[in-house]
Amino acid sequence: MNTFFRSIKSVKLSYILNLAGLAAAFATLLVIMIQVRYDYGFDKFYTDSDKIFRIEFKSENDPSSPYLSRISRPLGEALIGSTPGIAAGGIVNEEGISEIWIQGEEKTTSLSQKISKISEDIVKIFEFKILSGDTSAFRNPNSAIISQSDAKILFTDRDPIGQVLEIKSYKYPVTVVAVYKDFPDNSNFSGELFVNIGDEYLTNQSEWSFTYFVKLYDSGEREKVTNEMKEYFKTTLYPQESDSISEDFMRLSNIHDIYFSKDVRYDTAKKGNINITHTLLSIAILIIIIAVINFINFAMAMVPLKIRGLNTRKILGSGIFRLRANLILESVIISLIGYGFALLIVQYFSGTTYSSLISADTALAANRANLSICAVIAILTGVMAGVYPAIYSTSFSPAVAIKGSFGLTPKGRRIRTILIAFQYIISVVLIIFALFINVQSRFMKRYDMGYNKENILNTRVTNTIARQKSAFVAKLKENPAIKDVTFADGPLLSNSKMGWGRMYKGVHVKYDCYPVDPNFISFFNITILEGRDFIEEDNLKSNGTIIFNEAAMNAYPFVVGEGMGGHTDEPADIVGVVKNFNFQPLQYAINPIALYIFGTNTWRLQTFMFVKISGEYVKEAFNHIEKSMREFDPTIKDVNITFMDESIGKLYAKEDNLAKLILISSIISVFISIIGVLGLIFFETQFRQKEIGIRKVAGAEVFEIIKMFNISYIKLTFICFAAGSPIAHIILLKWLNSFEYKAPIPVWIYVASLTIVLTITVAAISLQSFRAATANPVKSLKSE
């Protein structure tokens, strides 16, 4: 061990470089590992995870249509009892976030929490851990189960059981009957207040808004159960339609798969992206490979320094096995020291805003398992990096080794060059990939969605405001900064609009229904292709008014001027067709949608407001809108007005975060590779000091020496770029497959990646070789 520390001292710089590379690699590995295990473990922690499924339907007579995550209650309840393979089934209806407080204590404590209505069996299916109270009391529509963390906030030391809670969006209070232990972070549940759904919508055939889960007795019976459910649907529930029903109109999706699926409509479950997870995992593996390569390079470069000592010991009688074991142990210790620094880096990272790039908690204390896995990887890295140099450096006949000076043998140099080349190729690929993810992300944000989204603010308003709509709009328009105002049922660009299924001319048609105000189409400059725009009079009719998009017209035999099933007993009028526009994030294609005017028999008020403002008076506009909202509804607490662009940007947050994470990782990989090159140059300049001296005596100038060192690496960079860019191109094409709208792959990202790698390489090498080139040749030539 003494010699170990002495050798560290003698080549300090290269040890520091090596440790820096290892620390960066392990830190990246650990962070990515946290995210990847979060993703792979999503909703997998239930004992029976593999037996829990969501029921998904698609348009029975259109096999090409997407599956829907929601079905009607009568259908769901009927299906649960349709086959003996189902152990239990239940409904989950997410109702959004609302304010909650203890009855009579609104002023003192309240909190905002998501409310989900569920049936009793959900508690069993998802293995709720009940900490106090009794779920057998969870029968009445006004009973509720609260999370441990919320109970602590609301009740502090009091017993929550039997307490009555008020929910702002509800007309009635609920009673807490049990407290459940919070689910892990990587669960689709997020600490919501669960309220018993009771009989709501139990007989409503047309409201397809509910998510149903079933638990099977045996996970292997999924196909059998699915077939039995389909059969039941065809023979018992809809025998009259069974001929026109396509084969795969229904399926069961495992709860873990739901997390990664993206082809399901109305799906509001938490989402991961399997591409992202796989990408991250691959990057982690690549970075570790790069680090191991560096480590081997480093150890190989040390061989000439060690070889004399090793062989002297061999001559003195030390066993070869012991020598090798010692060398490997040294390597493992260095690796573990690197890991120690990595922990410090991650500890620091988890305190910065960068930690929000990943969904999981990066605090070290929350990741014991991940820490252990990475520690094992660190040890393996040490062993892997130690074995070859250990064998190599002890494989010479001692007589030869002790006499000759093992500089850079051509063979050793070649191996090291190949290893460096490998690192460079990885770096080139990662940089191109990272740059392109940015390109794609910008492409999606700037994509022509088919409507105007510039200078438009959006916000949700309360029912109180929506009820006084015309007065409120008039008030807003008092300010010249406000150009126009319109209302709709929710955000324009979203994944969760109402799904309507109707019978039309003998065809079961399915489309999104988006209730809007009459001026909606003109507000957004959406093009009308056929028929007319909505008019104010549509609002005064007792029946509904529909304008379909092209996609709906192409999918179904709708005719402008005719009527079809709407929201009342009266048929709704189809009055026009608009050009397709993107009402979902760009990962999705454009599906059929109906813009809809309720008329006088409205189901509900439209509470999502869009305001077109003048680009010059942004601040005034914000202030004026907020002031007006508070004036019309003094009970408003938070006003959250955002630019529509900004809200759209948030839809791509996951992609953006991935881009950033990959960019950071690729920078780290380039950094580690450069450390490798630096290490190599460091040793090369040492071993070639004499050559440099000779060349200088022969008339070489400093610049020419630096050029000499650069040239071989510049060549290497070009070769690696030539090898790496096609690989990157293939990866990009594959990755683009997951997008409905693909950005063209620009040439500049390739040029940029080459420039980046080249610049860093030349800078690093020039810096390092400058020292050697300016040293007085007298010294190097003297040493014989």
Binding site: E691, V697, A698, G699
Partner: protein, 219 residues
């Protein structure tokens, strides 16, 4: 051709100061063959390094063809050295990775000579040194005598004004040593000015004149 006046060189480390050259003055005429002699550590090599512009003197004047060369910057020294001064070392100092031809070619490359010109000059000098049949060989494939002939070829390929030789026969047996000395004599006869550091009285006998150094001073 060379005029050295009051030249001193002091090496300083943290603890000691070594006076390697102490106020020496001498002149060398064009076409002379000088031997510098003296015991180990007397400053012979230091003198050669200063004359060869590998190192700056601490004080004093060094003129080559009436140009003051003491205390030039590295870049300037390289400029003056290039093509004007050839070096021959005791340990040959050939570059292992380059073959004979490439080793000899090196000074011409740094003079930015065209490849065709280089080829002609290198082939001529290899011919002269009787080593052209080894052009493609690498240094470790040659005997010591052959290696030194390559080194001499390299030092004269650019027809320098001055050849500096640091114990050119030190690593050679007497036969090869004699060959090298004959070669140097021949070069001198053709007009090259040579300054040679040596331990050997025998070699020194080939020179026109001997400068003896002792403790950094000419005696």
């Amino acid at each position: 051709m060379i005029k050295v006046e009051n030249l001193s060189k002091i090496f300083r480390t943290e603890e000691v100061e070594t006076l390697a050259l102490n106020n020496i003055s001498f002149e060398v005429k064009k076409g002379e063959f000088i031997a510098v002699m003296g015991p180990s550590g007397c400053g012979k090599t230091t003198l050669l390094n200063v004359l060869g512009l590998l190192d700056n003197p601490t004080s004093g004047s060094y003129k080559l063809d009436n140009t003051q060369l003491a205390n030039l910057k590295e870049r300037e020294r390289t400029k003056h050295r290039k093509g004007n001064i050839g070096f021959i070392f005791q340990s040959f100092n050939l570059i292992e990775e380059l073959n004979v031809y490439e080793n000899v070619e090196l000074p011409l490359v740094y003079l930015k000579m065209s490849a065709a010109d280089r080829k002609q000059l290198v082939n001529n000098v290899l011919e002269r040194m009787n080593i052209s049949h080894r052009a493609k060989h690498f240094p470790h494939q040659l005997s010591g005598g052959q290696q030194q002939r390559v080194a001499i070829a390299r030092s004269v390929v650019s027809s320098p004004k001055l050849i500096l030789a640091d114990e050119p026969t030190g690593n050679l047996d007497s036969k090869n040593g004699k060959d090298v000395m004959n070669l140097l004599t021949e070069l001198n006869r053709e007009g090259s000015t040579i300054i040679m550091v040596t331990h050997s009285q025998n070699d020194a006998a080939y020179a026109h004149r001997i400068i003896s150094l002792f403790d950094g001073e000419i005696v």
